[in-house]
Symmetry: C2
Amino acid sequence: MIANRQVLLKARPVGEPTTDNFEIVEKELSAPADGEVLVRTLFLSLDPYMRGRMNEGRSYAASVIVGAVMVGGTVGEVVESNAPGFAKGDFVSGFAGWQEYANLPGKTLWKLDAKAAPLSYALGVLGMPGLTAYVGLLDIAQAKAGETVVVSAASGAVGSVVGQIAKIKGCHTVGIAGGKMKCEHLVNDLGFDAWVDHRDPELFKSLKAACPKGIEVDFENVGGAVLQAIWPLMNDFGRVALCGLIAHYNDTSLSAGPSWLYMLARRLTVRGFIVSDHMDRMKDFQRDMGGWLREGKIKYREDIVDGLENAPTAFLGMLKGKNFGKLIVRVAQ
Amino acid sequence: MIANRQVLLKARPVGEPTTDNFEIVEKELSAPADGEVLVRTLFLSLDPYMRGRMNEGRSYAASVIVGAVMVGGTVGEVVESNAPGFAKGDFVSGFAGWQEYANLPGKTLWKLDAKAAPLSYALGVLGMPGLTAYVGLLDIAQAKAGETVVVSAASGAVGSVVGQIAKIKGCHTVGIAGGKMKCEHLVNDLGFDAWVDHRDPELFKSLKAACPKGIEVDFENVGGAVLQAIWPLMNDFGRVALCGLIAHYNDTSLSAGPSWLYMLARRLTVRGFIVSDHMDRMKDFQRDMGGWLREGKIKYREDIVDGLENAPTAFLGMLKGKNFGKLIVRVAQ
């Protein structure tokens, strides 16, 4: 038996969540069943989609049940294996959730090569957020060389990769982020062509100046006022890859989107997508991204918080844009 | 010189247009220039898109200039030809607009075979409205056998064809129209599986009952309350072919569309389209539609109004749903 600290969903939030929605408990964990692997969590990924799982009702994935462990992608080390193909000491990626240990079916894990890249990259640039950027930009929005690509939440785990892939593909890239530090990071470190601060009182005017030829592709992570500014700048046959709506996750009623008259007049395509529907692209993605990382074409920033007990506060901060780079909790060394 | 009656845009409407926005005048028309054909209008097509052309500003096509002839598709007879390939007595389709005669470049006309189908069909089921239905359903929305297809303005020129092609392709077809007569026509004459009256105070409930498995494809002609009822019934990976928004054409400010949170959760694709971008499909369309008409698989209803002077009133009535079938003005016998 192992003592296992867990973060549970204690109560569903109404509007903005607080630390009261979470509870930290300690439970005993038995040995892995047949086909299972006991994994000790090293890193936990914190991502905006988790806010949706805290709600009840019809979403794209099942809600977390009240009293259950919060869901989440993790990187861990095999402590004991009862599944073929895994041995003690292997590093694996999977979905253990917000806890120190988990017995996970071997089928749901994939092995990591600790020499190829830092292990935590499997939760970011080489994992689901990276794949989200890749699929959204190339498959959903079909960005082409010479087009203007706007990405909101551009310094985040997904947005920062979107901008850099778009640049590799020869696009004019405009990043929207909050605050001078993040905005300058976009241009100075990540190679974006221009930035716009979403707190700018003249948001539309600034965005227009950054997109002198209009916008062909919007990689949308935010919604709200940011989307309203982007919308009238979309060019004919523009595409919106709808990846996230972090401005709306705390809404207590469904808020309206921008006018459809524009969508008709400009022949826009808006397509909602979720990365888990596109796992068939993982192999292509890892091949391309691995190459770009080795060639130094992709820069990647992590924001690492120590200790599982700090996950709720870090998560709440992320919903307000307080993280700077991919938010990761180091659960164990 | 020929005396030519014309309907001009007299003034731009603010909100709902009235007959005061139009003016009927008579002007003299000279002989056709080199490369032109003098055509006598037989039939004028009246279509919802014309409402957009009455407005100023950025739309998908140029506005009609105040004082100019209203635009429109027409079928006519060649009176005098100064262009190769056309001779007196030929029947042609083109864009003469709301007038009795026009000198049109030969390049903008296509000849019609009066024996193959009634001439006016070139303005409807065999022309742009038919092509709109074909492209929107098959290319934009990619409707497949077994899927549920909902079409608004279902008894209109486009909607009636959408429903029938969807049925040919093996879809479950649900038409939305206004009033019992039009609704029963959908099921009794056009072969729709179910109808819903958009005036139904329990619109959502009735639509839900008509779509027991939810909706994969919405062929959207209307917007407003109809779209709001359709939206929450859309299934995962559903597609909206956004063809028209007749509920909004008189809006004096941009009205908001439905919530994007649904679009994300359900991974919907919404795509605005305009038939003139898809003329490359005309040949395929005419081959398929010609076959379906000969086989009796497509029924088609026209609402024919006599006299160019009645075009404004007929057009205003159409915007309120008063026509029953494709609205055509018989300008001359």
